[in-house]
């Protein structure tokens, strides 16, 4: 019955479907919402976010993106993952529609070549006790901080915690954490990044109900996805978190890096509120899963 109803409503939205409305559909209507109540993807009815006691929009909660952008922020087919001979479907990577507005990332020609080289060497890991450890390999593979905006579309939840002067986002992936400094002229939070970091130096403010976060001061080591999309230390990210319903935030990030791209470009996707009863982040302390990958060459060879 349920399946029938869903089918009918999907069908009813098309011009041909209108002709197919029958007694079956009318019967279904008694137990299911009307066709007009099913939201069209990408469109939210007007919404005003709840506000906290201090009057600021309330974004607290556990959120997660459901896009395949961590594989590739651009349109891509499903593909076999590493070692399909043992990993099979466990290790295969899902296809997905891109999150890049306009479809293409506006790389400079030489930067596009670098992106391709990155992708080819995404699993080449060569850990040394100097910064050359960052020369090759996808940081995600190594359990390194995923950078911004990638942290927001990894297939893991994250929690927004709004304090009085700061917002902290805790990501389940690696339990990494970023602080968004919200207070103007905060003597404890310089305007400029005091040093480069993996998750950048973030200052935020509200424009209406939208949380706007401006981040600079990035190390040049993080990637946007497993496809080798990357940036330099000139990265500047402006994120906008707009509450779209009690259960959704529309997220967009404008990415600017004149060393790598010919112009700023934008990604956007919804974030979904995790609604499981008693939902909380659990540990994904992935350091323990990458030790042999990172340090294996320095392990004792048991055969010797």
């Amino acid at each position: 019955m349920k399946t029938t109803a869903v089918f009918v409503f999907l069908f009813a939205c098309t011009p041909i479907g209108v002709q197919a409305q029958t007694a079956v559909q009318q019967r279904a209507a008694r137990t299911a919402p009307t066709a007009s109540a099913i939201p069209a993807p990408g469109q939210f009815p007007p919404y005003k976010a709840p506000h906290m006691a201090d009057g600021k929009p309330d974004l607290n909660g556990i959120w997660q993106a459901f896009v395949a952008a961590d594989i590739d922020v651009q349109d891509h087919d499903a593909q076999a993952g590493p070692h399909p001979e043992i990993m099979g479907a466990y290790g295969a990577w899902p296809g997905g529609q891109g999150i890049v507005e306009g479809g293409e990332i506006p790389y400079k020609p030489e930067a596009l070549a670098q992106k391709k080289a990155n992708a080819e060497k995404r699993m080449v890991v060569n850990i040394t006790s100097d910064p050359h450890r960052h020369d090759t390999g996808d940081p995600e593979l190594k359990c390194y901080r995923p950078g911004i905006p990638r942290a927001n579309y990894l297939p893991f939840p994250f929690q927004i915690i709004q304090g009085t002067d700061n917002i902290i986002i805790v990501y389940e992936f690696g339990r990494v954490l970023r602080t968004i400094y919200m207070k103007e002229n905060d003597p404890e939070a310089p305007k400029e990044a005091p040093a480069d970091s993996w998750l950048g130096w973030s200052r935020g403010h509200f424009e209406g109900d939208t949380l706007v976060v401006d981040s600079t001061g990035f190390v040049p080591y993080t990637w946007f996805d497993r496809a080798g999309d990357y940036h330099s230390d000139a990265l500047h990210v402006v994120e906008r978190y707009t509450p779209a319903s009690p259960y959704h935030i529309m997220y967009e990030a404008t990415i600017d890096d004149p060393k790598v791209f010919t112009r700023p470009w934008k990604v956007s996707f919804p974030l979904y509120r995790r609604m499981e009863k008693n939902i909380q982040l659990v540990d994904f302390n992935c350091e323990e899963f990458v030790e042999k990958l990172l340090y294996g060459p320095y392990f004792k060879d048991p055969s010797k």
Partner: protein, 359 residues
Amino acid sequence: MANRFSVSCGALATMIVAILLTPAFVAAQAKSAAAAKAPAADNKTWALPHTPDGQPDLQGYWTSLSFTPMERPAKYGNREFLTDEEATQIYKEGVQHSYEFTFNDFGDTPVYDATVYALSAWQEGVAPNKRTSLVVDPPDGNIPPLTPEAAKVREAFRRTGPNQDYADPNAPVKADTSTDLNLGERCLSFGGPPILPGAYNSDFHIIQSPGNVLIEYEWGNESRIIPLGGGPHLAPNIHAWHGDSRGHWEGNTLVVESTNFRPGATFQGANAKTLKITEYFTRVDQNTIEYKFTIDDPSTWTKPWSAIVPLSRIKGPIFEYACTENNNDAVNILAGARAADKAAAEKAKKTSGVPVSQK
């Protein structure tokens, strides 16, 4: 920031074990704490601040750095408090000298010079403490005896655990694989709860939302999210590196109960299955939170015990601490051990005249 982790692995290892294992952990040093303290507040006119939604406000940057030993030195007998003179003297010694604690003789071995690692700037804000020990219960200021079973476990860990026996500086370092390293060297955990003084990086940040209190430690940017909603703990089969915490307010005191600890990552090697830690955060003035914790693990200690650590306000912010991204310790310790293996093989070859296979 990130590269700070590349400082002495020995010192770091010592501190990790101190946090996880040592009965009498003494915090180290600050160069000029008095000068670096947060702005003085007039406590006569001080009123407990509240968050916009009405919770007592604990938000801000704090340090647990302390010169007070965990357990009461014998010379103080039953005295719970120092005289003003004694407290001032200990404080002065603490901020003027650097120490490297050893397992034999905590606090009395002034060889660790914080300035070598440019750490003094982070070690600001510690305040004098009149207590003779952090432990306040039992009243003798000493952690109760271990149960016989726990004593056996601890001894075994001391002999065979990661970076085994720090009591013997000549003991060979076993570093065949990463699992021979301790949790801090592996960037897996820097310990806690409870919140204790560390030799450095004792700083942390508290923020409060209407439903949660978040504690971010500078060390590794590790965090604890403490829900206030009164829901049940995680199911017993889910473990958390810093325990699973639930908080509620009792008057002006935030009470946090933690369980679901991860085996192998518990405070002083306690039994993850039976360990329960209760923490009490009470803001007593502009620059101080009185922090008390109670350790209850009947399979490890013969009775519950409690300690009080003063938390002092410091100036923020706390920077990113990218540990695994810059973990030179793991590389250098393992590579050093392989070099030692090779040297030993060469030596054996010369001694015996029999060729040994080489990499």
